[in-house]
C-alpha cells in the first residue's frame, strides 16, 4: 500500500514584479492548512533553483521578456503536470508588454533600450551605455504572454490576484473539485 503523498508545487517569477508571489503569502493563516497538503519544490519561496522531482502544480508569475524566461517556462512545462499562469503579466504580458507598443520603429528594441537608459528625460546614467554584461540574458523582441510559449492549463486573473482566489483555486485543484471561477471572484470594479 502506497502512502498518500503530498502534492508538490513549484513557482517562478518571470517578467513580473513579485507582487503575485506576495499575493500567494496573502493566503495568510490558511497557509498552515495548505502546507499540510503540499510541499514546495523549486521556488523563490524555498530558494530551490532546480526541480528536484517532477511536480504536480507549477505556478508562473510574469510573462516572457527575455530568453531566460522562456527557458524557465519551458522547464516548468516539462516538469509540471498542471501549469497555472497567475496575474495579468503571465496571462497577457501586463505592464512589461507596454514596450510592445513601440511598433512603427525599424528597431523597436533599440529604441526601447535607448529611451530607458540613454535618452529618457528622467534618466541619470553616467555611463551613457545600455547595460550589456555577458551574464544578462538576451531580451526578446517583444514581451510574450506565457500561453504563447507553452500550453497553460489555468489562468488566475488579477493584478495581483487576491489571496482568497489563489487559495480557493489551489484548494479546489488539490481536492479535484476546481471548476472555474465565480463571476464575483474575478470582477475588479
Amino acid at each position: 500500500m502506497t502512502e498518500l503523498r503530498k502534492a508538490r508545487i513549484a513557482t517562478a517569477s518571470l517578467a513580473g514584479c513579485f507582487g503575485c508571489h506576495m499575493a500567494i503569502l496573502d493566503i495568510d493563516e490558511r497557509l498552515i492548512e495548505l502546507m499540510k497538503l503540499v510541499e514546495v519544490d523549486r521556488s523563490p519561496l524555498t530558494d530551490i533553483k532546480q526541480f528536484t522531482r517532477r511536480c504536480d502544480i507549477g505556478i508562473i508569475e510574469g510573462g516572457c521578456c527575455n530568453e531566460e524566461n522562456v527557458h524557465v517556462l519551458r522547464d516548468f512545462r516539462r516538469n509540471c503536470d498542471v501549469l497555472i499562469a497567475i496575474g495579468q503579466c503571465a496571462i497577457m504580458g501586463g505592464l512589461p508588454a507596454m514596450r510592445n507598443a513601440i511598433m512603427h520603429s525599424d528597431a523597436p528594441l533599440r529604441e526601447c533600450l535607448e529611451e530607458a537608459y540613454i535618452t529618457g528625460r528622467y534618466i541619470r546614467n553616467t555611463t551613457h551605455q545600455v547595460p550589456n554584461d555577458p551574464a544578462l540574458p538576451l531580451l526578446l523582441d517583444e514581451v510574450y504572454p506565457c500561453s504563447e510559449v507553452v500550453e497553460i492549463d489555468y489562468n488566475i486573473p488579477g493584478c495581483a490576484p487576491s489571496g482568497d482566489i489563489i487559495y480557493e483555486t489551489l484548494a479546489g485543484l488539490l481536492a479535484g473539485k476546481f471548476s472555474g471561477f465565480e463571476r464575483e471572484q474575478i470582477r475588479f470594479d
Partner: protein, 634 residues
C-alpha cells in the same frame, strides 16, 4: 484606409526624406489660391469635404499640414477634423504622391491571375518598389484592395484610368509610354478626348455580360417606369414595390417597399435618397456594369423612390475606384436635367428632385449604410450607432433611403412592368432576378442575370467552372462552400449574396484564400470598435499559424471562440461578417484544418520561435545566447 486597425499590422506610407522638407514650407500663394477656389466651388461647405480633399489630392498630389489648415479655416473646422478625414481614406495622402499614381489591384483573384509578375514588371520598369514614389515625384506605385475588375484581372488604376488584363509585356509598354510623357488617358486611346464618356468607359473596361435576364440587362425602354410613377400617388408606388417582393440587392436583403414606407412616414421637412454604388466586396462588380450600361434606369429608379417618399435631395455615392465612370454619370445627370427629368417640376408635376454625384476615396467600409452617410457628410467613413436608423435620421439627420444600384434599377422596371411580373420570377421569399458577378477559375467570368433560386451547380455550368473545388458565394464576407454543397440555391433563405460568386479550382490553397480575406478585413476595419480592429488581426495571425503548420488542435476552438466574440460585439456589418471566411471553411472544409494541426511536443508551442525572438537582441548586444545558441562554447 490607414486606421488604427491597420497601424497594428504596420501599414505605413514610406516617407521620402527629400520631400519631407516640403512639410514645413509655407504654402505657395498659387497653391493657396487654387485650394481656396476648390473650397469656394462647394461653398466652403464642410459636408462637401470629400469633394474638396479629392480635388486637392488630384491637384497637389498630397494634402500637407498647411493645406489642411487652410481647408479647415475655409470650412470652419479644426485642422484635426480635416486630418481625421484625410487619414481615413486610402486615396488621400499625407505624404507627397507621384504625379501619376499606379494602384495595383491586390485581390486574391488578381494574385491568382498573375499580379505578382505584373507588380514585379512595374517595379523593374519604374525602378521603385510597391509602396514607393520615384525620387523625381513622377510616379507612385502601390497596392489597393479589389477594384471591382475580377472578371478581367489582373487590373490596375493609373490615376483615374483603369487598365485590365495586364501582362508583364503590357506593363513594359505602359511604363515606356508614361516615361515618354504620355498621359494615362493616352494608354487607352490616342483619341481619348474625342470619345463619348460611354466609349471611354467601355474602352477601358469590358462589360462581360454573359447572360441578360428579364429585368435589367435585356433591352429596357427609357423612362417607362418613371412615366407610370408620375401618374401614381406616392402611396400607390410604395404599394407596388411592396407587392413585387423586391428586397435590397446590396447584401442585407431588407424589403425595399418597407424601407420606403418608413422613410415616407418619418416626420421631416426634407428627405434624402442615396444610391449606394460603393461596391467594394471582393469579387463583386455587377454595379459597375449597371452604371455603365443602365445609368438612366438607375437614375429613374432613384427618381421614383424620391417621388414615393417625398425626397428632394439625391446622392449617388460612387466608390473612388470607379472614378473612370464619373464623366459618364455626370453626363447622364445633365442630360436628364436638360430633359426635365431631374430638377424643378419633374414631368411637369410639382415634384422637385436632383442628384449630386459623391465620389468615395478608397474605403470598403463606406459600403456600410451608416459609414456611407458619414462619408457623404464629409466625415471619416465610420458607421453610425443604430438606432436611429437612416430611414428616420440619416444624412444630416434627415430621413434617408439608402439602396443599392441594382435595387433602384429593379424598382424602375417594376413600375414599368408591374409588381406581379416581378413577383412571378424567382421563388417564395426571393422574387425577381439577380445579377451575379462570376469570377475566378472559370471559362466565362462576367455578369449573369438570373432568377433567384438557381443552384450553384447550374451557375458553374453556365460559367464553365465545373471543375470548381470551392466557391465563395458573397465574396470575402460571404460563405465558402465545397463540392458537396453545389446543389444549394442562390436565394435569400439559402445562400444569400450581394452577387459575388468567386470560383476556385482544386489547385488553390483554401487557407491562402482565407488568410487573404482576413488581411483584407484587417486593412478595411475602420478602427472604431475594438473587437473588429483587434480581433481580426488575431484571426489573421491564427490562420497564419495554420498555414505554417504550427497550429495545435485547440487553435480550432480558438478560431471559433474569437470569431463568435467578434460577431457578437462588433459595431457594424464589417465585424459581424468578417469571421465568415474562417467559420464557413471550418464548417465546409474541416479536413483542411484537421490535416494541418498537430499537438505540440511536451506541450511547448512550436509557433513560438525563440531564434527570431532573440535575433534583434543578439545584434544589439553583439553576443550570442548562452542558452539557445548551441555552439556557444565552441
Amino acid at each position: 484606409m490607414c486606421s488604427a486597425g491597420v497601424e497594428l499590422t504596420g501599414c505605413r506610407n514610406r516617407r521620402d526624406p527629400t520631400m519631407d522638407a516640403a512639410t514645413d514650407r509655407e504654402l505657395r500663394r498659387e497653391d493657396a489660391e487654387r485650394i481656396a477656389a476648390i473650397c469656394a466651388d462647394v461653398g466652403d461647405d464642410p459636408h462637401r469635404m470629400m469633394d474638396i480633399l479629392r480635388a486637392v489630392q488630384d491637384d497637389l498630389r498630397w494634402i500637407s499640414p498647411p493645406v489642411m489648415q487652410l481647408i479647415a479655416d475655409r470650412a470652419g473646422l479644426s485642422r484635426i477634423a480635416v486630418e481625421g478625414v484625410v487619414s481615413f481614406y486610402a486615396f488621400l495622402s499625407q505624404v507627397p504622391k507621384g504625379r501619376i499614381t499606379i494602384r495595383l489591384c491586390d485581390d486574391i483573384i488578381d494574385r491568382f491571375a498573375g499580379m505578382p509578375a505584373v507588380a514585379a514588371a512595374f517595379e523593374a520598369a519604374l525602378g521603385i518598389k510597391v509602396g514607393e514614389t520615384s525620387a523625381d515625384g513622377a510616379v507612385s506605385l502601390e497596392y489597393t484592395p479589389c477594384i471591382g475588375l475580377c472578371d478581367q484581372a489582373p487590373a490596375a488604376m493609373v490615376n483615374d484610368i483603369v487598365l485590365t488584363q495586364l501582362t508583364p509585356d503590357r506593363v513594359a509598354e505602359v511604363a515606356a509610354a508614361l516615361r515618354g510623357g504620355q498621359r494615362p488617358e493616352d494608354l487607352i486611346s490616342h483619341e481619348f478626348d474625342d470619345l463619348s464618356p460611354h466609349d471611354r468607359a467601355t474602352r477601358q473596361v469590358k462589360n462581360n455580360i454573359r447572360h441578360a435576364g428579364a429585368s435589367l440587362l435585356c433591352p429596357v425602354p427609357d423612362g417607362a417606369g418613371l412615366q407610370r410613377a408620375l401618374d401614381m400617388t406616392p402611396g400607390r408606388i410604395i404599394e407596388e414595390i411592396e407587392a413585387s417582393g423586391l428586397r435590397g440587392c446590396g447584401g442585407a436583403g431588407f424589403a425595399t417597399g418597407r424601407k420606403w414606407r418608413f422613410a415616407a412616414a418619418a416626420e421631416a421637412e426634407r428627405r434624402v435618397i442615396i444610391c449606394n454604388a460603393d461596391e467594394g466586396e471582393p469579387g463583386t462588380f455587377k454595379d459597375r456594369v449597371l452604371l455603365t450600361e443602365r445609368p438612366h434606369l438607375l437614375i429613374e429608379g432613384m427618381t421614383i423612390a424620391a417621388r414615393a417618399v417625398g425626397a428632394t435631395d439625391g446622392i449617388l455615392y460612387l466608390r473612388g475606384e470607379y472614378v473612370y465612370l464619373r464623366e459618364l454619370i455626370e453626363e447622364v445627370l445633365q442630360d436628364r436635367r436638360d430633359r426635365g427629368l431631374l430638377g424643378q417640376g419633374i414631368g411637369g408635376a410639382e415634384f422637385d428632385f436632383d442628384i449630386r454625384l459623391q465620389l468615395g476615396a478608397g474605403a470598403y467600409i463606406c459600403g456600410e449604410e451608416g459609414a456611407l452617410i458619414s462619408s457623404c457628410e464629409g466625415l471619416p467613413g465610420e458607421p453610425k450607432t443604430r438606432p436611429p436608423f437612416p430611414v428616420t435620421q440619416g444624412y444630416l439627420g434627415l430621413p434617408t433611403v439608402v439602396n443599392n444600384v441594382e435595387t433602384f434599377c429593379h424598382a424602375a422596371r417594376i413600375l414599368d412592368k408591374g409588381a406581379q411580373w416581378f413577383f412571378d420570377m424567382g421563388h417564395e421569399g426571393s422574387h425577381g432576378t439577380k445579377l451575379f458577378s462570376v469570377s475566378g477559375d472559370c471559362l466565362n467570368p462576367g455578369i449573369y442575370e438570373l432568377p433567384y433560386g438557381l443552384s450553384v451547380r447550374d451557375l458553374l455550368a453556365m460559367a464553365g467552372g465545373e471543375d470548381a473545388a470551392a466557391v465563395a458565394v458573397g465574396g470575402a464576407s460571404g460563405t465558402m462552400i465545397a463540392r458537396d454543397q453545389f446543389d444549394r440555391t442562390l436565394s435569400f433563405d439559402d445562400l444569400s449574396t450581394a452577387g459575388a460568386v468567386v470560383i476556385f479550382n482544386g489547385s488553390r490553397n483554401i487557407l491562402e484564400i482565407v488568410e487573404y480575406y482576413m488581411s483584407f478585413f484587417v486593412h478595411e476595419s475602420c478602427g472604431y470598435c475594438t473587437p473588429c480592429r483587434v480581433g481580426n488581426v488575431f484571426l489573421q495571425k491564427a490562420i497564419g499559424k495554420f498555414r505554417d503548420g504550427l497550429a495545435n488542435p485547440e487553435d480550432i476552438d480558438y478560431l471559433k471562440d474569437l470569431s463568435g466574440t467578434i460577431i457578437e460585439t462588433s459595431r457594424c456589418g464589417l465585424g459581424t461578417t468578417s469571421p465568415n471566411p474562417i467559420l464557413t471553411t471550418l464548417e465546409n472544409f474541416p479536413l483542411i484544418y484537421a490535416a494541418t494541426v498537430k499537438p505540440s511536443k511536451d506541450r511547448i508551442r512550436a509557433s513560438f520561435d525563440i531564434q527570431s525572438a532573440i535575433d534583434s537582441a543578439r545584434h544589439l548586444a553583439k553576443r550570442r545566447s548562452t542558452i539557445f545558441d548551441e555552439d556557444f562554447s565552441k
